[in-house]
């Protein structure tokens, strides 16, 4: 085995055997994300069950026939308790102490108003004892019941009016004379899907992708910095540098080993994340029912290849940057606090691009973000979905230039004695510590 492969093999062995890396980088995403997805699914199911089994109360101050029909309608649909009370205040006291989550109140005059062709008032009181989502949603369910009744009652009134006036026509058409539908044009093709549905898909992807990219780079940076700092702390790097092997071979070997583990970590992250999205959003089929590729915004094979290239150059640049900086530290702890600083320019574009497009930002902020190489990684992932390959190629170009610059700096550091003599600790940035003599 050549010196380079020897170092790569040793590096992979060391990283895989380190329980912190094996668990944190490879196993944790496989366990954590499906668990998170299950957690969300369980809580959503609990919410649905709680809404379905919600108890309503009804109190009417109106003894009229029309009010009675509404009461009967609500009673057939849910577990409804009729409150007997001397007035609204008394009814509210009784309702407050009950286990009902919503009170449908029909005030006096409801039947009278409807009979006279005026609007009949109905009021719903929500009983927010625990201030949770289920209580608020149950109040909405009670409201929806009244709305459904309202619609059908309106249709029957229209039908009666048409009959009385001996007119023809559909009560549904008279109620809603305009049928509104949406379609979208994407890349010149008309697609029968509303822009808002596509927007929600893009939003879900644009939140997910920057998070994934960010996490992957953070893993890689921490891993590489820890690995080099450990070599410095234990003086194994010092030993390695006196062996008959080129210093650039040592750097390349360490980088390659870290890239291999980072790729393994990314794959496990993606598997974990796909489990997370499929289980977490299974309660909301509208999110997943629209096929991305069907509407022309899925990733095509060419997109995957370019995206792979973007990820590769990003990883190499992040690792080279982490290694170049970590050689100046003298302990794992100081390397980790240093990588904490590196993570800042990564988090800022990720968060900004999660919530907006780069074009929407003020020009100055756009330029600042575009200087940060990792912004281009996130722009490229978004562009891959829309098939804008030019943006991806531009990103690969920019990140590659940055990577070459960082690798050049790393190679320089590795080929001089600075790798042995330079160092700073957490509290002494810039101050040169006297080397051991």
């Amino acid at each position: 085995m050549g010196s380079f492969m020897s170092i790569v093999y040793k590096e992979i062995k060391e990283l895989v055997r380190d329980p912190k890396i094996l668990f944190g980088v490879v196993l944790l995403p496989l366990i954590l994300y499906p668990l998170m997805g299950q957690g969300i699914q369980i809580s959503q199911q609990a919410l649905e069950t709680s809404i379905k089994g919600a108890k309503f109360s009804i109190y009417s101050d109106d003894a009229g026939m029309i009010a009675n029909v509404l009461m009967q309608y609500i009673k057939t649909n849910n577990t409804v308790t009729t409150i007997e009370a001397s007035g609204l205040q008394d009814a509210l006291v009784k309702y407050k102490d009950s286990d009902s989550v919503a009170l449908v109140y029909i005030p006096n005059g409801y039947s009278q108003n409807i009979t006279e062709g005026l609007k009949g008032n109905v009021k719903i009181y929500g009983n927010l004892k625990n201030l949770n989502m289920a209580e608020a949603s149950s109040t909405e369910v009670a409201g929806s019941l009244v709305k459904v009744y309202n619609y059908y009652y309106s249709l029957s009134l229209i039908k009666n009016l048409l009959t009385d006036a001996e007119q023809k026509g559909s009560p549904v058409a008279i109620h809603d004379p305009i049928r509104l539908s949406f379609a979208s044009i994407i890349k010149g093709n008309v697609i029968e899907v509303s822009p808002s549905q596509i927007a929600s898909l893009i939003v879900s992807q644009s939140i997910m992708l920057p998070i994934m990219v960010m996490m992957m780079i953070i893993f890689a940076i921490q891993m590489a910095a820890t690995s080099i700092a450990l070599e410095k702390e234990q003086k194994t790097l010092e030993t390695l540098m006196t062996l008959p092997v080129g210093r650039l071979t040592i750097l390349a070997g360490k980088l390659t080993g870290s890239v291999v583990i980072a790729i393994a970590g990314s794959i496990s992250y993606m598997i974990g994340f796909s489990y997370y999205t499929s289980s977490a959003f299974s309660f909301a089929p509208q999110v997943t029912s629209v096929d991305m590729s069907g509407v022309g915004i899925g990733i095509q094979p060419m997109g995957y290849v370019l995206l792979g290239l973007v990820m590769f150059v990003t990883l190499v640049s992040a690792l080279a940057l982490a290694i170049s900086l970590a050689v100046f530290t003298d302990s794992v702890r100081s390397a980790q606090s240093l990588t904490g600083v590196l993570i800042v320019p990564l988090i800022i574009p990720a968060i900004i691009l999660m919530f907006s497009d780069i074009e929407m930002l003020p020009q100055t902020i756009q330029w600042v973000l575009l200087v940060i190489p990792y912004t281009h990684t996130m722009l490229a992932t978004k562009a891959a979905f829309l098939g804008n390959y030019w943006i991806i190629v531009r990103s690969i170009g920019y990140i590659s230039v940055f990577t070459v610059a960082v690798l050049w700096a790393a190679a320089k550091i590795f080929s001089t004695e600075r790798i042995i003599t330079s160092r700073f600790t957490k509290l002494s940035f810039g101050k040169r510590k006297k080397p051991s003599i």
């Binding site: 020897s6 062995k13 234990q234 003086k235 540098m241 006196t242 004695e417 040169r432 003599i437």
Partner: protein, 243 residues
């Protein structure tokens, strides 16, 4: 016998700080040479220059006739360097560590196996070589590292504070390993230490270094006679006018 190491007027500065101020000494082939002095005297800097880790600011440094700056690659082929307080890769077994390190020197599989076998014997760790390094005691780690340094049969072995941080028993074993190997193989070893009694036991010749300058050089007996001292510690104190 030729010269293993030749150092002439060696200076090394870190910014405004002069760590070495015109160091001169020579080491004969097959000699165990000790560089002794207190912490901060310039021992590690001298060894790092010899080990091709750092460059001299000025002066001439040669290992078996090869300049450590111009012929750094050749020098690395013939020397073995053990830094002070060095560790080994904690998630590799002792055996894997020896194989990894031998891989940089061995030309073929037979040579690799021979080197690893030598490492096994020198370390005396037996079956414990199959365990991971993070399960080793400090003394075991040091034995593994010294075995690593010696197994490749280097022409020059540089050991920086080989017994630093070890207890009396561990240090005794390590000194025994070095002395035994040197006697059997007839190799050149440069040892640095601030433990003067250790150097007196191990070395054929010693150089006393203080504040970046060699203040005396000779066999332990010569130095003790010159300074009318009972041991090297006392000789050092006399030489530095601190006694």
């Amino acid at each position: 016998m030729g010269l293993a190491v030749k150092i002439i007027d060696l200076w090394k500065s870190f910014g405004y700080f002069d760590a070495l101020k015109g160091v001169n000494f020579e080491i004969e082939e097959n000699e165990i040479f000790g560089l002794i002095g207190p912490n901060g005297a310039g021992k590690t800097t001298t060894l790092r220059i010899l080990g091709t880790l750092i460059s001299p600011s000025s002066g001439q440094v040669e290992v078996f006739g090869h300049d450590v700056v111009k012929d750094a690659g050749v020098v690395r082929e013939i020397l073995s360097y053990l830094p002070e307080d060095a560790g080994a890769y904690q998630y590799l077994s002792g055996e894997e560590y020896l194989m990894f390190m031998a891989g940089f020197y061995a030309r073929d599989k037979t040579a690799l196996e021979e080197m690893v076998q030598a490492g096994r014997e020198i370390s005396g760790l037996g079956d414990r070589l199959k365990d991971r390094v993070n399960d080793y005691s400090r003394g075991m780690k040091r034995r593994l590292l010294i075995a690593r340094a010696l197994m490749i049969k280097p022409k020059l072995t540089i050991l920086d504070e080989p017994t630093s941080g070890l207890d009396v028993i561990q240090a005794y074993h390590v000194r025994g390993m070095i002395k035994d190997y040197a006697k059997r193989m007839g190799v050149t070893i440069l040892v640095s230490s601030h433990n003067m009694l250790e150097v007196e036991y191990l070395c054929d010749r010693v150089a006393l270094i203080n504040e970046g300058v060699i203040i005396a050089e000779g066999t332990p007996t010569e130095l003790k006679t010159r300074y009318n001292a009972v041991n090297l510690e006392q000789a050092f104190m006399e030489a530095t006018h601190l006694g």
